[in-house]
Structure formats: C-alpha cells, structure tokens
C-alpha cells in the first residue's frame, strides 16, 4: 500500500508523539544520536519515507520489526538513511585544527627514536580526507618540515580508491579549500574539474582494505593518528567493538583516534581515554607514562 504524502499537511503528525519518543529513546540507546522533540517533524518525514520504502505503513509494526529483527540489517539501513554522509575537502575542519594545534604537538612530545609521523585515513572514500590532512599539515602545521610524515589511506571500495588516486574533484568538493591553496595545489583540467598536484597524489599510500578482516588489518601498526569518521555508525555492535580494538593496536601508545563529530566512543568501547582539546574531543590510546 503506497502512502500518499500529498495529503499530509504540517498539522498532521505522521507519528504519534509517544511513538516518536519511544523511537527516539531506542535510537539514542543504539547509536548515541539524540533527537530533540522539536525535531520530530523533520525526523518523522525521513523515518516515514524510509519505512514506506521498506514496505511498512504502520509505524508501530515497523518499530517492532526494527527492535527484533535478528540480523539488524533494517536498523542499519535506517541508520544509513538518517545519517547524511557526504565527503568533501576540509570536512569537520575543527578536527583538522585540533590535529595541528594540539594532537600532533602531544605526539611529538612522546617522540620515539625514529623521525616518522604516521597518519591513517579510513575510510578514505574518494580521497578528500587524506588529501585534506596533507594540505592542512603542509599549510597549517609549523613543524611539518621537522619530521617525515607518511599518510596511509584505505577503503573497502576499489572504485572510490581509483578516483582517489586520480585526485580529480568538482566545485562542491573543493568549496571549502582556501583559494590560495586551491591555486597552489590544484590544476584545472576541465570545466569544474580540479586535479590535485601529482606530488600529493604520489605521497599518499592508498590501499584496499576490509576493516573487519583481521588478516588484512594486522599489518596496520605503528600509527600516531587515525581518522575514522562516519564509518563506525554504520557497523553493528560487534563490528564496532572490533574496529575500535583494531585501531587500538594500530596506534602507538599516546596516539590519537578521530571519529566523526556526531560519533562517540561512549557507545563503542572503553579502551580509549577521552581527551578534550580546544577544537575537538578525540580519543587517545593510553601510555606511555
């Protein structure tokens, strides 16, 4: 039965208030994402649309289905729908600022004998994130010339990796890059097509990786910083825990993990120490003391 949204007016709630509250509390428990009551009308529209696409026209039935489906696949699909995920340069810039203003300095204070700083971007998608890291380090970190910096970038999707290696982006993606950086590091290769400099494309080590595969991930060790933004939210409880544990062993003691701004370790794992810096809250592997 298709639901005709054209007859809905803004006065008619799609979902009763108490149903919304039950859903809201359930979703908060599962994901840490909390919807204020005043957001009900925006949320319920998305919820209702998704629900009808899944073949449900009764919210109570759909909610029970979400709660008790053994595989949890439909809940995952709802989470995917409810969390917008677009990638572009300088996304969540406060975290990049935190990196160069606070995190890296602390890592440098716990220096090992070698002179190598290692960062890992996972998932790297079409490359905006690892390249943003590179640009920010080059332009905003005073100590960039004092150490060697190696950036690894991984994704499970070979297509996006290929795009990342090509490094060609459109206007929306580069919108937040300062003009001076755009001129310095990108070449216009066509109308609305900006390619990042070859030196940068060659400096990132891209790899195909399934984070849930321990055989593949055991090679990723010795990192000082890991960026894993807006991935774990799509995982089930077991996979999230595993990912957190994998990152724990991938990091050097005192190394930092950055999650998406709406994500928190509080739903995932107690392994990491919470660190509050002026620009962001990030997570740190304990030690060395």
């Amino acid at each position: 039965m298709a639901f005709d949204t054209s007859v809905q007016t803004s006065d008619m709630p799609l979902i009763r208030r108490e149903e919304f509250l039950k859903f809201r509390d359930f979703f908060y428990r599962k994901t840490g994402i909390y919807y204020e009551e005043h957001k009900q009308s925006t949320i319920e529209l998305r919820l209702f649309k998704h629900m009808t696409e899944m073949g449900f026209d009764d919210f109570r039935l759909y909610f029970n289905h979400l709660r008790f489906q053994a595989s949890g696949l439909d809940l995952q699909s709802l989470i995917n729908r409810m969390t917008v995920n677009e990638t572009f340069f300088m996304r969540e810039e406060n975290q990049l600022q935190c990196l160069v203003n606070s995190a890296l300095d602390e890592v440098m204070r716990i220096r090992r004998a070698d002179n190598l700083l290692r960062l890992w971007s996972i998932p790297c998608s079409t490359g905006e994130e690892p390249y943003s890291l590179a640009l920010y380090l080059l332009e905003r970190w005073p100590k960039v010339d004092h150490v060697n910096i190696a950036i690894s970038a991984s994704d499970i999707d070979s297509n996006v990796l290929e795009q990342a290696k090509k490094g060609v982006y459109g206007p929306r993606s580069v919108n937040n890059i300062p003009k001076a950086w755009l001129q310095r590091y990108f070449r216009t290769i066509g109308p609305g097509q900006f390619q990042i400099a070859k030196e940068l494309r060659d400096s990132i080590d891209f790899s195909l990786l399934n984070l849930s595969d321990p055989v593949q991930t055991k090679h990723f060790r010795g990192y000082d910083v890991i960026f894993c933004r807006n991935l774990l939210i799509y995982f089930d409880q077991e996979s999230r825990r595993r990912a957190a544990e994998t990152f724990y062993d991938a990091l050097n003691p005192g190394g930092f993990l950055f999650l998406g701004h709406a994500e928190s370790m509080s739903r995932i794992s107690s392994l990491f120490k919470v660190r509050h810096f002026p620009d962001a809250i990030i997570y740190q592997k304990p030690g060395p003391t």
Binding site: K22, R60, R67, D205, E245, D249
Partner: protein, 214 residues
C-alpha cells in the same frame, strides 16, 4: 622532511611486538590459546582476536576471563565471546553476572545483551535470582529479547518482586515494550508499594507511553 610515502608493513620495530615467525607458525587454536599467558598484552589481544574463528576455544576464554588483569585484553575477550556466541558462551558468562568486579559484570551484561535468543531459556531462572542486581540485569536483557512472552514475564514480576529498584527497571522496560494489557499490572504495583514517588512517576510515564502510542 615533509610528506613521504612508505608501504605497510613497515612499522617501527617495537620490542613488544610478537615476532612475525612466531605468529605465523602457531596460529592454530592450540598455539593461540598458549598466548593467553604471554606476558605482553598486545600478544594476548592478537591471539584472542584470532580465536574468534575457533568456537571450541570458548571454554578456555571463559575460564581465563576473570584472571586477565588487563582491561584492554578483557575487552577483546568479550568481543571474541560475542562473536562466538552460542550456548556455551552464554552459560559461562551468566556465572559472571555475580562478580564483584564492576568492569567484568557490566562487560558481561553487554555481551549477553547481544545474544538475547540464547538467553531465552535462562530468563526464568535469571529473573528469580536471589541477587537483585542479577534480576535487574535480566530485566535489561528482556528489552532486547525478541520474545512475544516478554511483556507477560515482566507483568508477572511486578506482581511479586520485593525489591523496589527491580520493579523500577521492569516499569522502565514496559514503557518501551509494554502493551495495554500491561496497564493493570502497572497500576497494581502502586498498591503494593504505596507512597513511592519514583514508582508513581515511572508507572504514570509507562502508562502514558503505552496508551498514547497505540
């Protein structure tokens, strides 16, 4: 200086790393289980992670759990037990619900919450456990249990539970999974525990959620 490219594996040599050849040679369940007593936490974590592929290791892991001193290793153990699942794991973990160790107890609850269906057969017993904390944990687990009898079980508890905080958990649970037939049991609770502002609040909230959500 500046950006360089290196290919993993090429990490700095850390004396705490388990040597590559050792890991390669002894990666069967026997060899992995031996590593549970390795002095290096990182070696224990790696071994336990890989043990997820060997469900027969569940008993050894369960036995080792309370003895493991490092919480980071315990976390990995709990995840592996979650991955293995099944009756052996559930039965073994239930024993730890009574542990004095807060970290262990809460960790075990989390794993059990992820295995609700294996727990169904123990629910009756858990809900009657002499320890009220165990009964509260049991109620929390019911929240996740895809069992049509769950609301009825909760209603039955309300009729005879003596600990007020266990009742509070039950009411909280019913506010989420309760049905109109739960309402009399909720109201009767207040006659069993008169003059309890928390229960009055909880019951009225649960009834409101149940009534207006239908």
């Amino acid at each position: 200086m500046g950006l360089v490219k290196i290919n993993p594996p090429n990490h700095p040599q850390d004396p705490n790393d388990p040597p590559e050849d050792h890991r390669a040679r002894f990666r069967g369940p026997g060899g992995l289980l031996e590593q549970l007593s390795d002095p290096r936490a990182v070696a224990r974590r790696w071994a336990i992670r890989e043990l997820a592929a060997f469900p027969e290791s569940a008993n050894a892991l369960l036995a080792h759990l309370p003895m493991e001193p490092d919480n980071s290793v315990r976390e990995v153990m709990l995840t592996t037990l979650m991955a293995i699942g099944g009756e052996t794991v559930v039965k073994g973990l239930i024993a730890y619900l009574r542990s004095e160790d807060v970290f262990l107890r809460n960790g075990v609850v989390e794993v059990l919450q992820a295995l609700p269906n294996e727990l169904a057969v123990y629910m009756d017993w858990l809900l009657r456990d002499p320890d009220p904390d165990v009964r509260i944990f049991a109620v929390d687990i019911l929240r996740e249990l895809a069992h049509p009898e769950a609301p009825a079980w909760l209603e039955a508890i309300l009729a005879q539970e003596t600990e007020i905080n266990v009742c509070g958990s039950v009411v909280d649970c019913l506010s989420e999974i309760g049905a109109p037939q739960s309402i009399p049991a909720l109201q009767n609770l207040l006659t069993r525990f008169p003059g309890q502002p928390f229960l009055e609040f909880a019951v009225s909230m649960a009834i409101e959620r149940i009534q207006n959500g239908k």
